[in-house]
Amino acid sequence: MPYQSESQSYYSSSSRGGGGGNVSSEPMETVIKLASGSAVVVFSVSTCCMCHAVKRLFSGMGVSPTVYEIDQDPKGKEIEKALTRLLGGTSAVPVVFIGGKLIGAMDRVMASHINGTLVPLLKEAGALWL
């Protein structure tokens, strides 16, 4: 996926641990760090209805994602900017990471669910057991 390679290049170019790296990569590092922290990570805005749809999709499948409401997060602005850059300029949320890997916005999530790749990814990340 284009998203994945983009995030990986960011990852490799910025220093780990967030110390001394250039400012623009910090939010991205934050994002990546948060994304790697759980099996399923959703960046959301509490009032966003499409984010609500993504959350309902996962809970309907029996998955409990870790949700970061960036409108309620102190680092929200930066995260939003990083996500916008990651997704290529459309809306920043919702964005889904599974097993630390970027899946994408709602359309990518649904496409991967329809073509049957979402469930294996979830199982691989340990978010789904059956």
Binding site: T47, C48, C49, M50, C51, H52, A53, V54, R56, L57, G60, M61, S91, M106, D107, M110, A111, H113, I114, N115, G116, L118
Partner: protein, 454 residues
């Protein structure tokens, strides 16, 4: 009389026996329309004189009212038939020439190609026994098997009956069984005749509906080409320019769909090679990709036009979901029509149905939250900052486009996954079924709109 026949209503195991006069009663004459499809009947194994009842009666066959009507009809029928239609070919030749000697039973009658010898219509040997008209036994087999005891016929009006007076009446027991057999045969014939008539009526109804349907489609086509209709409806002033543009593009897409359908149909029937078929099938997938693209463009300008669904026909509008068809419903409709499927394919398709259902539910819940949030914003606005809230509401409304776009995305992904799971040939049949299904929904709308109203 009717009751006795009912008792012997066995399945038409013997209905293959042809050439018999079916039991007729006066009521039945009025029930069935004059049937001129003699030729067709002759192809059937059971040659039924039933259809001739009305013409015979109308032809003024004299009937002795003294007898039970059934017996009269049956007894007169055979002779009358030949008299009326002497050139009418009889599918099965009767071997026996003499009615009296051939008659195997009181109920059987022989029909000879030549009308010279009287038709040995067998009036019931015992009038009281055979209350109903004896069916004519047209099987030579039967004739051979049955003993022909002929009790004196009690209807002097009928010529044949007198011919049989000489037959012995000794084997009454055998006669009874033959009578039962004949009754059964008659019942079978009657049932067969009725079902044939029903089938004919049904087929005629189908044919007329089909013709009417094609006529309607032609009318719509011509009206559309004359620019009277945009998107299948007369234009009003309420369609935005983006909506009008989309409607035109959609009607063009529908025309192309008809072309794709005929191409698919011809390809499936003519057993093209897989390579050629693949091109056609993939072309149909691209055809759908095109409409999703057009809808995406239209959603940017006028999402409400897509949601309210004026661009589809009324029946389709009933089933509209987020501006289009519901993928899980489509899969559910397709599954039984996709046989045969491998185990793996079936699993894949059921998985597709389940995942599309889950995605639909998620989108529906998101949209529902949008509705609630929007209503709250509108309701909460006080006099002072109502404008502010309206602006917020406008912002929320903008999310509608995202939902319609995700719904179309879901539809597109479902079609693509369907294409991936199925073989080329299966996919061709699948898309044919799908196209015809939506075509029928559209046709239903046309028929409904043009139904006669008091």
């Amino acid at each position: 009389m009717a009751s006795t026949r009912r008792v012997l209503g066995e399945p038409a195991a013997l209905s293959g026996i042809s050439h018999h006069l079916p039991y007729s009663n006066p009521h039945m004459l009025h029930n069935h329309p004059p049937d001129t499809s003699f030729g067709r009947n002759q192809e059937e194994s059971s040659f039924d004189f039933g259809e001739l009842e009305e013409p015979i009666v109308l032809g003024g066959v004299k009937i002795n009212k003294n007898k039970t009507k059934e017996t009269l009809y049956s007894s007169v029928k055979a002779s009358a038939i030949l008299e009326m239609l002497p050139s009418w070919p009889i599918p099965r030749q009767r071997e026996s020439s003499k009615s009296g000697e051939e008659s195997t039973d009181s109920g059987s009658a022989l029909i000879k190609p030549d009308s010279e010898s009287p038709i040995s219509t067998k009036a019931p040997s015992d009038h009281h026994k055979t209350a109903r008209a004896a069916a004519e036994d047209d099987s030579d087999r039967e004739h051979d098997d049955l003993q022909p005891p002929q009790p004196p016929l009690q209807s002097p009006d009928i010529q044949m009956e007198s011919a049989r007076t000489g037959v012995s009446q000794s084997k009454s027991a055998a006669k009874q069984t033959t009578e039962k057999t004949l009754r059964r045969l008659a019942q079978n014939r009657e049932a067969a005749r009725k079902s044939r008539l029903r089938k004919k009526a049904y087929v005629q109804q189908l044919e007329s509906s089909r013709m009417r349907l094609s006529q309607l489609e032609q009318d719509i086509q011509s009206a559309r080409s004359q620019g009277l209709f945009i998107g299948g409806r007369a234009t009003t002033g309420n369609i935005s320019s983006a909506g009008a543009v989309f409607d035109m593009e959609y009607s063009r897409w529908l025309d192309e769909d008809i072309g794709h359908m005929s191409e698919l149909r011809a390809a499936v029937q003519s057993h093209l090679s897989d390579g050629d078929l693949r091109a056609i099938v993939d072309g149909y997938v691209s055809h759908y990709d095109e409409i999703f693209r057009l809808k995406g463009v239209a959603a940017k300008s006028d999402v409400f036009h897509l949601i309210t669904g004026t661009w589809v026909t009324p029946v389709e509008r009933c089933y509209l979901w987020m501006g289009g068809f519901r993928p899980s419903e489509l899969i559910k409709m397709l599954i039984p029509q996709l046989d045969p499927l491998t185990e793996q394919q079936l699993l894949g398709i059921c998985g597709l149905q389940q995942s599309s259902q889950q995605a639909e539910d998620a989108l529906a819940q998101g949209l529902d939250q949008l509705h609630q949030s929007l209503l709250q914003t509108i309701a909460n606005s006080s006099l002072n900052d109502s404008m502010h809230h309206m602006v917020i509401a406008l912002g929320k409304l903008a999310n509608l486009e995202g939902f319609v776009r995700q719904a179309d995305n879901l539809r597109q992904q479902t079609l693509h996954q369907l294409r991936r799971i199925l073989t080329v040939r299966q996919a061709a049949r699948c898309f044919l079924v799908m196209g015809e299904y939506y075509g029928r929904l559209r046709a239903l709308s046309s028929l409904w709109a043009s139904r006669p109203r008091e």
